[in-house]
Symmetry: C2
Subunit: 343 residues, 2 copies
């Protein structure tokens, strides 16, 4: 290498991706959309586009096997990838799974992992069509790629939100983050006194949000039945604030989100208060909820206004008007992207 050494931490994930991919250009006309959305878009000269997305989960970074059952991990690895296809308005079709394992795993534990993968494949109607299984010297690594399809005129990018669009979210936020806090708390308590029983009663919902998140294909199917194509969409993996900012920056627009409209489940709210955290901050920056964040035209509002699981949390305006949260007290604070897991 050259003599210069720049630390990864100075760039962060998105800066690094920008820097290493700036020399890459698209050669094949079939590659309609490359890096920068939930999935890449490929034109196979059929009526539909092919979508592909990929995600890698590493032990010690993305999951902790001391509280993550392998069945749930298998399910989650598939669900988070399906969620990327949902965020393009697509229908998932196939997955491939690459797995690196060390000899501390038994055949039975790997079977447990695949039981979860199978359950998710059946839930989302996707076929496991390939993969790679290899040894690992340290932790478990799962890399999933997912293929999906969507009609060429029915695709939801991140960069197509328009002023006056209504900002929607499918289901409540902050639960996965609070579930993680509880799991970490109980892990620490267990490490200090291994005889103690974990206190998980009354936390079932938020634990499930963390351990077994759901890809919102139900919302995609409902929107398709209502003939609503969102003007933009992303799935909430990093957190509402961070993912909203992706849409705004890529679309060249601003947004006003209203704190009073943030959907927060009672269990999330109570646990946040119990742990001296602000529930709204958890909803804004928690991440890993895998709900869909999308924008719709005003004229589509009537069709979904009574939907039990779609929440209307703000509106898009011109970029110059900023990207703000309007608090319950009426003041405006700029949305802040949550810091990404540091190198």
């Amino acid at each position: 290498m050259s003599g210069t050494r720049t630390e990864l931490s100075t760039l962060g994930e998105f800066g690094l991706i920008d820097r290493i991919t700036r020399n890459f250009s698209i050669h094949n006309p079939e590659s309609v959309k490359g890096i920068g959305d939930d999935a890449a878009v490929i034109d196979t000269n059929a009526d539909t586009y092919t979508l592909i997305s990929t995600d890698m989960l590493l032990e010690g970074i993305h999951f902790d096997l001391s509280y993550m059952p392998l069945q749930h991990l298998g399910y989650k690895a598939v669900a988070v990838n399906v969620s990327d296809i949902a965020a393009m308005y697509g229908i998932p079709k196939q997955i491939t799974i690459s797995l690196a394992l060390s000899n501390r795993f038994s055949v039975e534990s790997v079977e447990g992992l695949y039981e979860g993968i199978l359950a998710a494949c059946e839930e989302y109607n996707v076929d496991l069509v390939g993969g790679d299984t290899t040894a690992s010297r340290s932790g478990l690594v799962i890399s999933v790629s997912v293929l999906g399809i969507t009609e060429k005129n029915k695709i939801a990018y991140r960069n197509t939100a328009q002023p006056n669009d209504i900002v929607c979210v499918s289901g409540d936020l902050g639960g996965a983050y609070m579930g993680l806090q509880i799991l970490e708390r109980e892990k620490q308590a267990f490490l200090q006194s291994p005889d103690m029983q974990p206190e998980l009663e009354g936390k079932e919902y938020i634990l499930q949000r963390q351990l077994r998140p759901i890809a919102r294909m139900d919302i995609i199917h409902e929107l398709r039945e209502l003939n609503i194509v969102p003007t933009s969409m992303i799935d909430i993996s990093d957190g509402l604030a961070s993912d909203m900012l992706h849409i705004c920056r890529q679309s060249g627009v601003g947004v006003a989100l209203f704190e009073e409209h943030l959907p927060i489940d009672a269990q999330t709210y109570d646990t946040a208060v119990e742990m001296h955290l602000d529930p709204s901050t958890c909803a804004l920056n928690g991440g890993e909820d895998y709900e869909l964040l999308f924008t719709i035209r005003q004229e589509d509002f009537e069709k979904v206004k009574n939907h039990a699981d779609i929440f209307f949390i703000g509106y898009i305006h011109e970029a110059a008007k900023g990207t703000d949260l309007v608090t319950k007290a009426g003041s405006r604070i700029p949305l802040q992207a949550q810091g990404w897991v540091h190198f």
Copy 2:
């Protein structure tokens, strides 16, 4: 988990894959071919099939950064995936790359890795369309997925070899394995006396075979120009013997390979002798050459018989006649699959 613990080593890679995937079935009619070939085959209702394959490379298992330059690693990660598309008679189109990095890597070293990825993308005319970049607590992990296409009537599976077909290989074998032996020898020598210069002179070819393997897309383009669709094909990643047995078992046929026809480069041969290894064994079991192993009909032989880089090493016969190597002395020994990297 249940009370039983079965060690992964009792099953091996292929046994494990069989066991964990036996409960999976194909639900979508678009999924033409799933697990069991170099790539999965997907019908997007276009004139062509979409092919997808995936491979994961882990530091300490698949590569050793003490002698593997990151540029070469980036190139190799793409090339081995492109090779899987070649082995279906396909044309590669897009790749996604997931990368896990720890903070011991600098931005410059990651740029070096991507220089190699870019060089391979340009060489094979594929577009980088997506990926995932994440932190790692230990080593470097690269997971690549590749998409390709092929005409629906021009696809080469593993399970369609027929008796009387001629067995062909593109280029010489055993070089990548001998290159690895040299690199390991020099690493040990360096660890014992760090002042010693590595003895790599005269080993350039086999080092390149190990460090920067080439996907044989040139052979695919030539076969396409000659209008030859192989009756079966696989790329040689595990070793000639192991990969030949995949074709035979999946096609329900036997084979006779001739030791005297195994293509072995002089540098491979001489290095094997120097290290007291049998050159034929290195060619049969070495692995990682990423040459194409394929079968053609007798009537196609005339078109390629003078090709400088296609070697005719045997013929397919009925399964009952066995899967043998005919030695230079004229005796027959059953082909043995090389042991896979153990858990």
